[in-house]
Amino acid sequence: MTPAPPPPAPLRRAIAYLPAAALLLAVLCLLSLTFGSRAVPIGQVAEALFDRARVDPQIEAIVWHVRLPRTATGLLVGAALGLAGALMQGLTRNPLADPGLLGVSAGASFAIVLAVAAFGASTAPTNLIWYAFAGALAGAVSVHLLGGLGRGGATPVKTALAGIAVTFLLGSFTSALVLQNPLALDRFRFWAAGSLTSADAGTLWQVTPLLAAAAVLALATAPALNSLALGEDVAAALGRRVGLIRLRATLAITVLAGTAVALAGPIVFIGLVTPHLARMVTGPDHRRILALTLLGAPSLLIAADVLGRVVARPEEIQAGIVVAFLGGPFFIALARRRRLAEM
């Protein structure tokens, strides 16, 4: 690489913003542990976290078995969605690329409805997560295979069209099943709202290594995405192996998005918008975009979850609904102010 000096201002800004984003995320996690249908003061939360034996068992149960898994789900799902979105936008060079287009949501939805229809009410919510995960992976893999059929391999447009086709195919099967089976509809309508409450600690521990591996792969692909941003021919001329980059990024996106959908249901906005927000702060370098997205996306999701618990007390509004409802106006304002197309 020639010693071309990178634009200094975004670099300094990014370096200043990363600790700020980390701090914000930590504060939001604390808020998520304290707020809810029963408010637990921060002092008691700290006590419950660090000295489990001494606190009121009820509070210990709330913090450890309800709020902590929920907050951790928010962290994992938010980070996964943000990274998957940033990778996808970088890979396809399409500012509107969204992990939902890959067929993961459709695959997971169909798998859940099928599982409930086939095995009935005995299916536990935590088991549904694994069905959803399998469905999400199957959906994504079939989209990639179909998009890459024939000569020329997978191009972003072909993959997107294949994604739409698979989404509608599975969607129509899902609708048919749901219309015939009231129990499946009942499970499905709550899952489709996008909630952070379905995963328990055991499931979270099981998926964390998978997500961590995918996140490392994603971050490692970032420098290659910078070359790819110049166009595939230029990237190849710079010595990048475009096919390999695509394969690695696709693998990471599939695992990240698939796990996120399985844990929390289809959640919009996070994967599409947080990379753009990060890019406004950091500039076009994908290493910084991915790093900031990793911290910013979970902040947004956890904030939405806390808000959903507070506004409708004692009831709750699912995080996915809050994200979409507040994300809509924000996205519109963004679309009016800036050209999202500039990448």
């Binding site: 000569r151 072909k158 739409i164 509608f168 609904i321 979409a324 809509g328 996205f331 519109i332 679309a335």
Partner: protein
């Protein structure tokens, strides 16, 4: 299926292109239009002939003009024709609307659900069902009002010293998120039977449609489809980009506004009649574009493809499972997806890209 095999025919050298309505005449496009129209008419007649009381195919066409045995005329004209016609009109409206929209946004993934119509209509209808004011206002009215309001919101919010196709799509995504989240919220709060009714509408359905569904939609299509065809020249110029279109003498904002209005009105009326049969507006233009081998979806061929898609799907939906009338949306989804994939694979093999 004759239209499918016809795609294999070699491109003829097209040196002579007489102009019709300011557009060059493309022999391949004409052949495809005629073929698709014939296929659609065949499926339409088959739909009128099959059912619990089968009518011989030769008696179907006379029965349309009320000639033939009384029982046959009753079954064909009063029982099956309204549903079949609703299917034809819905297919044409969704597909033409999608073709116009994909052309003005220059985006193959643009479909009317992106500009807030389906989202608005869905939220209005589901709110009507769940909150209980749907019975007094009527589902078609709610669907129409919600769709138009959603589209109006998108257009106004996207207006900033003029509109651009891309900004309309972006704002449409935002509005769709809000409406969909409201719908999801309503569904989680609904009683089970309300949720079932709402989901049944959400899929898109032609079951039990009578003449009262045909009339408003028929008038709308009769006015709006020719309008879309007349505006095709502007549509073509807009695809070259705003600056080039302006250079060619197209009033860019007026053209885009009018085209959007036509697209929105078409899809709103269709949604009011049958619910959001989503896939048609997305897939039919793409299928038509590949059939005609053009760079943008042709409106008339898209509409005919949409008719074929919806009529054929409804035929299957009625007869696929012996005891249940599946909603047509389930079958359009499956068929359209399969067809789109098939075309995708073909174009991949030919090396011409997606």
């Amino acid at each position: 299926m004759s239209t499918v095999t016809a795609t294999a025919v070699e491109d003829r050298p097209r040196t002579l292109r007489p102009a019709v309505l300011g557009l060059p005449l493309r022999p391949r496009l004409v052949v495809m239009c005629v073929g698709t129209a014939l296929a659609a008419f065949g499926v339409f007649c088959l739909g009128l002939a099959l059912g619990d009381y089968p009518v011989p195919l030769v008696d179907v066409v006379p029965a349309l003009w009320r000639s033939g045995a009384r029982g046959t005329v009753f079954v064909v004209h009063e029982v099956r024709l309204p549903r079949a016609l609703t299917g034809v009109l819905v297919g044409a409206a969704f597909a033409a609307s999608g073709a116009v929209l994909q052309a003005i946004t220059r985006n193959a993934l643009a479909s009317p659900d992106m500009v807030g119509i389906n989202a608005g209509a869905t939220t209005a209808v589901v709110a009507g069902i769940v909150l209980g004011f749907g019975d007094t206002l009527g589902t078609p009215t709610l669907g129409l009002a919600g769709g138009l309001l959603g589209a109006l919101a998108v257009y106004l919010l996207a207006w900033r010293r003029g509109s651009t196709g891309f900004r309309i799509v972006l704002v449409g995504i935002g509005v769709s998120w809000m409406c969909t989240s409201a719908t999801d919220y309503l569904l989680t709060r609904a009683k089970m039977h309300q949720a079932q009714e709402a989901v049944g509408w959400l899929v898109g359905n032609l079951n039990g449609r009578g003449w009262e569904a045909v009339r408003p939609l028929g008038v709308a299509v009769a006015v709006l489809l020719p309008a879309a065809l007349l505006l095709a020249g502007w549509n073509r110029n807009l695809q070259l980009g705003d600056d080039v279109a302006r250079g060619l003498g197209t009033p860019v904002q007026l053209a885009r506004g009018l085209l959007l209005l036509v697209s929105v009105a078409l899809v709103s009326f269709a949604t009011a009649a049958a619910g959001p049969v989503l896939f048609v507006s997305l897939a039919a233009p793409q299928i038509a574009q590949r059939l005609a081998r053009l760079s943008a979806p042709p409106v008339l061929l898209s509409a005919l493809t949409g008719v074929l898609l919806v009529s054929g799907s409804d035929l299957l939906a009625r007869h696929l499972l012996p005891d249940t009338d599946l909603p047509v949306g389930v079958v359009t989804g499956a068929i359209g997806a399969g067809f789109l994939l098939r075309l995708l694979v073909r174009s991949n093999r030919a090396g011409s890209g997606g």
